[in-house]
Amino acid sequence: MLVQVTAANQFFRVTDSTRRWADVISGNGAHFLSAAGNRYNANGQKSVYAGDTLEAALAEAAFYAALEWQERVANSWVTWANGAPAIFSTPQKLWCFRLTAPAAVIDVDNQNSQVAFHHHRLILRNPSRTYLSTQQLANAVISIPPPNAVDGLKAPAVRCRPQYNGKSHSNFLFVIRGQQLPANKVDDWDLNIEFLPIGGGPVSSATERIDWENPVFSFANANHVPAGLAAAFSMPICFT
């Protein structure tokens, strides 16, 4: 159940386009962003969330970009008085990094982990945004005392469709108070995530539904694209 992470392992993370490299490894995003905490950290615990595949990072980012657009729709009564956006796109930045020091993380999807931590496997792929059980699991992992203390945990990438889920994981790397994750940036890319109306065309007053589960990803510089990806492509994500 213990997995060793070395400098050979690449991690991927997507952030708001305003974020700098120092923000990416600060752990503050997990610390501050939600009053209720996040999937594997309660409020106040610093962690860096990162995918071990591009698909894991992109699916997670698209899910939250979709939620933000859904919030804009929900608030449109007061915010769109002077017109609605015609294109539902969000600029983001995709980061790739490697840890500079070996780390040990616990694969909580492993059967030995289930025995050790007594968690039901269903919680690891539960699409709900109520995170009590996964936060308690993270608390149990982070509470392991030295000399067996670990640096984080890895879990199934919940927002990835099953065809990617078998090989994609989300990693939750603990950030010790006052420090940042020891990591080096490998590369970064300017990314755009767009949601299209079902039936095509721009968003208009006639639009009934947005295809939230099939976002379109595109890179600002077609000559600078992560290996294995096209400059623009669609990838289905899990909403439920």
């Binding site: 700098r20 007061v78 915010t79």
Partner: protein, 153 residues
């Protein structure tokens, strides 16, 4: 050929203009959204009685002493701005509209009028803001639009 405004093109990319350091980011938000310095501090939970000399401080000094609370306040302001697709002019215009609409709070947050004093109203608004529920956007707008320069109490 017709051209689109940034809003029509989706969320505006602030990557090139948004400052890197926290002090610069707060100055950017304060200026572009037309906010009261003190109101941002109150949003961060920094009370006048707690650190009276803070009110005269610039962001460079505050960003060091109150980093965690100010980063949380920045997050709230960015979430508010995000609802306008990062178009600061539209967000600022909305705040001006809220300031000039004496019925805005009564219309959108009618229970706030039950609180008789400004501190009680502030506390109630901050509670809504921190819960990030359905009333978040109107609570943030009401909170930011009121204050020392624009007393709505």
């Amino acid at each position: 050929m017709a051209t689109s405004t940034p809003n029509e093109m989706g969320v505006r990319d602030l990557g090139g203009e948004y400052p890197a350091a926290l002090a610069g980011r707060l100055t950017w938000l304060e200026t572009r959204l037309g906010l009261d310095h003190e109101r941002i501090l109150e949003l961060a939970g920094i009370e006048r009685s707690e650190q009276s000399n803070h009110w005269l401080s610039d962001w460079s000094d505050l960003a060091v002493r109150e980093r965690a609370r100010l980063e949380q306040a920045e997050g709230t302001l960015l979430t508010f701005l995000s609802q306008f697709c990062n178009d600061a002019d539209k967000a600022r215009a909305f705040l001006e509209q809220v300031r000039s609409d004496s019925e805005f709070c009564t219309t959108h947050l009618p229970f706030i009028s039950r609180f008789p004093t400004a501190p009680e109203k502030n506390a109630a608004l901050l509670g809504i803001i921190h819960e990030t529920g359905s009333d978040f956007i109107v609570a943030v707008a009401t909170f930011l639009a009121s204050g020392t320069r624009h007393p709505a109490e």
